[in-house]
Structure formats: C-alpha cells, structure tokens
Subunit: 527 residues, 2 copies
C-alpha cells in the first residue's frame, strides 16, 4: 500500500528541517575538499550525461536525511505505480503514461483492451510513415511539389516542448545533413503571431500540423482558421496542407479536413507530450523519424535510471530532493535554469511550464490545503547571455536563487574560431565553470560593491554534445524531477485546474455577459 502523506507529516522531514544552513559553500568548495566534491558528488545519467551537485549546499548529513525522506515518501514505489498504470492523476481521474511513449518500464498497461505502449508506438509509426512519404514526395502539394516547411499550430504543451526540442536540434541536424524540413510554430491567439509566421514562409510548400488533444482549444482553432484563410487566398486547398494531432474522441480525429490524424490520449498531459505524436509529428517531419527515435531512446534510458531506489544513483530523484530542501528548508522562492548552449534557448520556457504548471498548487492530491510552499518560480536564459543580464541579482541580490546549469563539451554546428588562444566553445565552457565557483565561493573585497558573499548553490548537467539522445535524457530528467517533487509535496502534478477560470471569464467577455469591473476592463480594452 502506498502512503500518500503530506511532506510535513513525515519523520524524515523533521530531521531535514534541523539541517537548515548546515553547509557553508565557500568553505566546503575551497581547496582539496572542493575538488573532492566535484569528483564524488556526481550521478551518471543516460546518453553520457552527468548530474554534478558538488556546488549544492549539501553534505553527508543532508544527503542521509534526503535519502531517508525518499524512502519514507516511497518515491520509487510511487513512480512504479505511475508507470504501471495506477490512477495517479486523482483530480481528473486519469492514468499518467507519458513514459510509455518512449519505453516499457514495467508490466503492460492495458486500458479497455488496448495495450497503451503499443498504441503510442503505433501512432509514432504512423507519423513516421507519413513523414517518410512527405520527404519522398509521395505526399506533396496539388502542384506535385515537395513540402519544404512544417508549421506546428498549438499552444502550451503543444507548442513549448516541441518548439524547444526543434530549436535544440536544428543546428545539429543541419550539421549532420539530417534536416528534412524547416519548422515554424504558431501559438498565440494574437493575430500578429500567425501573420508574422505566414509572412515568412511559402504556404504553397508548407504543411501545417494542428495539435489539440480536445480539438476545442480556442487559440489553436482560431489559428487554424487563420491559416486556412491564408491558404484559400493563395488558391490552395487547406485539406491538402494540414494534419491533426489529437485524441481519438476529438472532432478532428475523423475530419476530412486533414491529410492524416495522429492520436494521443488523456493519459498524456500537454506539458509531458513532447515524446508523443505532439512532438513526434513535427520532429519526424523536420528531422526524419530516425532522429525522433534517437530522442525517444535517450528519454527511455533516463526513465529507466529513475527507477533506481538509491537517490545517490538517481539524478532525477536527487535533483528533486535537493530542490525540496532548498524550497522548503532554506525557503528560497525561485530556481534559474541556465543552459550554456544557444540551442537550448527555449528549454527554460518549456521547463517553466513543466514545473510551474505541474507543482504550482496549494492543495494536496486529496484536495486538502498544504501548510508548506510548493513549486518555485522557474526562469532562465542561455549562458553566456544571462551573465550580461540578470546574473547581477543572482550574484549580489538579497534573495538566494538556486541555479541549474547545463553544459556541453562540444558545439553542435562544428564551426568555431580560435581567438587569444582559445576557441569559442572553450570560452563558453570556461564561463560556466567560473560561474559555478563564483556563485559558490564568492570573493571578499574591501570595496563592498565588489564583494561577493557566495553561498549561492548550483548543479550542472554536463554532456559531450547536444545530440537527440542527450536531449531526450535531459527532457526526461526534468519531467521525472518534477514528478518526484510532486510526490514529495503530495500534490497531483498532472492536472491544471488553475487555468480554467480565466477561460470561463473570457467567454463571458466575448458574449458581453459582464458587469462591474470585468465590464470596465472589457471597455478599456475596446472589446
């Protein structure tokens, strides 16, 4: 039997609370002990990645307490329950099966006679076959010409994840000669979004992927109409230019408006859908199904590592535990995600959704208010750009913000120059190493403006190169971290009721069924 208990009712939690401010980073990261920590505080991940937490404010005592907490909170057992098909999403009464889109971790999960792993795989294969026909020219426009551009129309999880993944692999794919089609994304209901994208592409050679699980998402349907309008004005038949990614029960599933439809289901939340057809269709079209499969393989390998019960051998679990220590024991309100890789420019925006939408909750999985803080604010930009921007506050601001670095030893595009004795890639890597130490140890200076207190914790995930496998592992790491944190906080990380009220009120505004301040705001905005 699983114990779904609030964090503050656990015995291990009380032990952890006593360890507030236990570790002084400027002390432990100095000299030989610092070097020892870098060597020892490391967990291997999939695809050759390593999670290094030497510069986190933990030591043997804190780690022991975190391991005890993991055990008492039954993190491994809860993960097993999740991937084995228990109803973990209690709010919406749904299973949580996104891991099955990339691998089979436990026993088969069969729902209404359907093996879900087989179902997800079949959809991916359908999308792969479709992509190959597009690439070969078998599926083409009315003039018999190949499609050169794929445009994803979706919002939230149907946009941020796939967009971040596309950008992450675009330079790599071009370098490897694997780019098949350019990809663009339309998300915002602001008509300037679709207008801007449409001005930059050749619609006659563009294929549009409409992504909406319910088939009723306001922004997505509106943008679909916008695009269809543009296609018709260009003398084209929209039905020859559109495919749908949706659920089998949605109105889009059987519509003749689409060349094809690929299916997801209610057991895959939008923010966890990059490895389903939601990411699969656009990424297979852009880079080919083989690249998408490599991405899935990286994620599957990382999912498997997350089944390890010992947190010291399980990067996602340890990252989650340290995050809870920082948030609930140390009281730090935000976490910055800082990839030293331009390819990961939108990865922080994806993690922002993944984390804040999953764990930005005030009631536990039984609907009872919790007496502790839950999900932090997540934000970030690529390094070294951020160094010239908000790092000032990270170094010398009055709040401590824990940091999550990501770095790679090699670049993607294979172009580099050597200046003043080092390459750009070396400069990039030197900066991330330097920042970690600057944050951890600071520097005493007689000029208080130039004084750095240090004590600002960070971890880093390091890899050789941002390949599809590494990207998949990176994505799964954070998905699993968020999942483990949800278990620790005893939340339902898989619903998002907090976004509903705004939708209801927006409908009222459009129907002119408002009074009081809502009417006043509607007038102010000229509606």
């Amino acid at each position: 039997m699983l114990n779904w208990k609030n964090l503050d009712t656990l015995a291990a939690w009380k032990n952890l609370l006593a360890l507030k401010d236990k570790v002084k980073l400027p002390e432990v990261m100095a000299g030989a002990e610092g070097a020892r920590r870098v060597a020892e505080y490391a967990v291997p991940m999939a695809a050759g990645l390593t999670y290094n937490y030497a510069a986190k404010a933990v030591d043997g005592d804190v780690l022991d307490a975190l391991c005890a907490l993991a055990k008492e909170a039954q993190l491994t057992e809860k993960y097993e329950a999740l991937y084995s098909g228990e109803m973990i999403n209690t709010g919406e009464k749904r299973l949580v099966l996104h891991q099955l889109t990339r691998g089979q971790l436990g026993k088969a999960v069969v729902v209404d006679g359907t093996d879900k792993r087989a179902f997800y795989t079949a959809q991916q294969e359908k999308a792969a076959a479709f992509a190959q026909k597009v690439h070969s020219g078998e599926i083409c426009n009315a003039a018999g010409e190949k499609f050169t551009t794929v445009v994803q129309i979706g919002i939230g999880g149907s946009d941020l994840g796939p967009r971040a993944m596309y950008l992450a692999l675009e330079n790599w794919a071009k370098q490897e000669g694997l780019q098949k089609m350019e990809a663009r994304f339309i998300s915002n209901v602001d008509p300037d979004d679709a207008a801007g994208v449409l001005k930059g592409i050749d619609v006659a050679h563009s294929l549009f992927v409409l992504v909406s699980k319910s088939g009723t998402t306001l922004e997505t349907l509106t943008n679909e109409s916008f695009v269809k309008d543009a296609l018709r004005k260009a003398g084209l038949d929209p039905a020859r230019h559109m495919v749908a990614v949706t659920s089998q029960t949605s109105p889009l599933a059987t519509s003749s408006d689409y060349l094809a439809a690929f299916f997801m289901d209610d057991f895959i939340g939008g923010r966890y859908s990059s490895t389903s057809c939601v990411g699969g269709a656009v990424l297979s079209l852009a880079f080919g199904p083989e690249v998408f499969q490599r991405f899935l393989d990286g994620a599957a390998a990382e999912d498997k590592l997350a089944t390890e019960a010992d947190p010291l051998k399980n990067a996602a679990m340890l990252d989650a535990l340290i995050g809870v220590y920082e948030r609930n024991v140390q009281g730090w309100p935000a976490t910055a995600v800082l990839p030293y890789s331009q390819a990961l420019s939108r990865f922080p925006a994806h993690l922002q959704q993944l984390d804040m939408e999953s764990n930005g909750k005030s009631v536990n999985r039984f609907g009872e208010p919790v007496d502790y803080v839950t999900g932090p604010v997540i934000f970030g930009e690529p390094g070294t750009n951020g160094q010239h921007s908000f790092y000032q506050l990270l170094h010398q601001g009055t709040d401590i913000i824990p940091l999550q670095f990501v770095g790679f030893r090699q670049n993607q595009a294979g172009m580099d120059v050597e200046i003043q004795g080092s390459t750009s890639q070396q400069k990039l890597c030197a900066n991330v190493a330097a920042q970690i130490m600057a944050f951890a140890c600071g520097k005493q200076d007689a000029n208080p403006n130039k004084n750095f207190a240090g004590g600002r914790p960070s971890s880093i995930i390091v890899g050789d190169r941002l390949t599809p496998e590494a990207l998949g592992a990176l994505l799964a790491h954070f998905e699993n971290k968020v999942m483990f944190q949800g278990f620790l906080w005893n939340l339902n990380s898989f619903d998002q009721e907090g976004v509903q009220l705004g939708k209801v009120l927006a409908k009222k505004v459009l129907a002119r069924e408002t009074d009081g301040a809502l009417k006043a705001y509607s007038d102010l905005l000229g509606i």
Copy 2:
C-alpha cells in the same frame, strides 16, 4: 540638498508597514466598487497609453502612504538631479544620461566642454545619414549591390533591448511598408549562435553592427572574428560589411576595420542604451531613421511625464511605489511581466535585465549593507501563451506573484479572422480582461482543486496599437520605474559589479591558472 537615506529609516516607510494586507482584492474589485476602481485608478501615459492599477492591492490609505513616501524619499528631486547631470552612479563615478538620448528635460549637461544632448543627437544623426545611404544604395557591397540584412553583434544591453525593440516593430513596419532591411542578432559566445545566424542569411548582402562600449567585450569580439572569418571565406572584405557602435576612447573607434563608427559614452549603461546608437544604428537600418525618431519621441514624452511630483499623475513613480509595497511590505519575491502582444515576445527578457541588473544589489549607494530585500525576480512570456503554461502557479501556487499586464486594442499586422462571433484580437483582449479579474477575485468552488482564492494583484498598461511611439513610452516607463525603485531602496541602480567575478575566473580557466574545484570543473567541461 538631497537626502540619500535607506528605505527603513524613513518615517513614511513605518506608516506603510502598518498597512500590510490592508486591501482585500476579492472585496474591493467586486460590483460597483470594482468598476469605480477601474475608472479611477488610472494614470495617462505618453502615446495614448494608460497605466491602470485598479487590481493592485491598494486603496486611499495605501496610496496616501505611498505619496508620503515618494515625497520623503525625494523621488522627483533625485530624478531631476539625475537628468541635470549629477553623479548618480556613485560606484563607477559616472553621470546617468540615457534620458538625454531622447530629449532635454532640464538644463544643458556639459561635460568637458561638450553638451551631452548635442553629442547624442549628433551620433544619432550620423547613424541616420549612414542608414539612408545604405537604403539608397550609395553604401553597398563590393559588387555594387544593396545590403538587405543587418546583423547586430552584441551581448547584454547591446543585444536584449535592441532585439526586443526590433521584434516589437517588425510586424508593424512590414504592415506600414516601412521595413527597409531584415535584422538578425548574434550574442552568445556559444559558436552555435553565430553559426545558426550565418546559415540563415546571405552574407554578401549583410551589414554587421558591432556593439561594444569598451571595445573589449569577450563575446562580441569573438563573434566579430567568427563573422569576419565567414566573410573572408565567402571572398568578401570584412571592412566593407561592418560598422561599430562604441565609445570614442575604445580601440574600435578609429579602426579602419569599419565602414563607420557611432559613439555612446560611459554615461549610458548598456541596459539603458536602446535609445542611443546601440539601438539607433540597427533600428534605423531596419526601419529607417524616421521610425527610430518616433520611438525616441515616445520615450521623451514619457520621461517628461515622469517629472510630475504627484505619484497619482506619474505612472512610472506609482508603479515603482506599488512595487516596493509589494516587495517589502507584502514580502512577494517575484514579478511577472505579461504582454498580450506577440510582438513583445522578448520584452520581458529585456525588462529582466533592466530590473534585475539595476536593483539586484545588497548594499546601498554608499556601500553599506541594507536590511531589506531589493529587486525581485522578473520573468514573463506573452499572453495568451503563458495562460497555457505557468499561469497555473500564478493562480493557485503557494506564493503570490504580482503581475504586470500590457495590452493593445488593435493588432499590428492588420490581418485577422472572425470565428464564433469574435476576431482573434477580441479574443486576445477578452483574455487579458478575464485574467485580471480571475487573479483579483478568484472563485469559490466546493471542489478545492477548482477553488481560486484570488487576491493576486496586477496592473495593466493599455494602448491602442503598438506603434514606435507606444514602444518608446513603454520602454521609458519601465526604465523610470526601475530608477525610482532604486531611489527608494537607496541603491546605485547604474553599476553592475556583480558580473565581474565570473569574468575574472573565466580568464583564469582559459589560462589554465586554476586548482581545486575550479580545476575540477574545468576538467569536467573538457577545457
């Protein structure tokens, strides 16, 4: 004489502290009182914008206390001192003159015999004349062909602001027939950044604007070499393709490597430089000098409004005061910037730098530690996208995050579709109105998962359309807000010593002068 005093030594501050949790938004925003607040709690801004703070947790008592605080902190007098040329940047012993790039607010500021307003204007005129010659073809490539693309090479303030401004006006300029050249941006030392941009442009028809005040910025010089390398490989002479924006004393100022050089100086901080030649060169090339001038005019008009001593008639000052109330009295750690305009997609990233780099400090302008929190974390994404992402935490998370909305009644591109009785633009505006009310008032629900406590404050800046003037006013508003907050916290908002230590350590890494943990990290990253 100006009193530069810490916030917590002011009498008005103690009165304000007593007003914690004074206003219950779900109560005051309901019914007729809510409508009255929307009508009354509004401050006109430049370019037809309005700052509406009806949904902020303030009332007459709080506003009275804030007005008293503004007076005691001498906000108006300090602003006057700044634009009149006093040495406000005490750390670096510099004047702070970015407002002079767009207008003359007070007496002439003369330094070493040079009228600074005349100096900045002359540089803008030089850039304008250059841009016109490029547009006419008088300045062209070696083959006598026109340049079609401008690429800004800069980082931090030389990148984020100009990039955000370019993206903000791109759709507008295309619609108005005013787009002269496409613009791209290279910033990161990660070689994949430059490689990605270079793959997407035609270098033979590209003009590169190298921006570095000191002429020594590592990333920028490295990317310059990268680009020169690419130009040479394409058989082109780099000196025919590059201009510099720098200070007169920098090594770039007189180099024959550039077609032209436009100057800024030490009195304009990078994050305040969008209205100097740092933004002026690229924006004048992209859209023409007339458009850049309209942007300056909007900023100048807003600067003028910020001289108003009554905070209730001064949007930037009031925004600053309410922000300090939220940060220091209510104890809220972050602020989200939420523009309902896809054109402002990178505006939050610019404000993140502007705010966090200016006020992320722990010592006051005299170098003494302050006993209160200063600058918050700033983050944000455009709506409606954010609604499908991190808004879950904003609505139902355990921390309250104050919100800054921006919205426009009309779109930029002039393309729209009507679906289900409303246009995309109406849907966009309906959503922002709905969100403000959902955050403020929440909604009782027997299902605790669907219960919204409300009490989450927001303000909105509303305008007709995002024009160059409106953008200038918006930018100046936030610059001035940050300035006033710096005065309230008694900080020097115009230096950034917190970014120096990392640079020093990175140099050591590249020189292999490391030991201990820094060497261990360098090894880990393969340097």
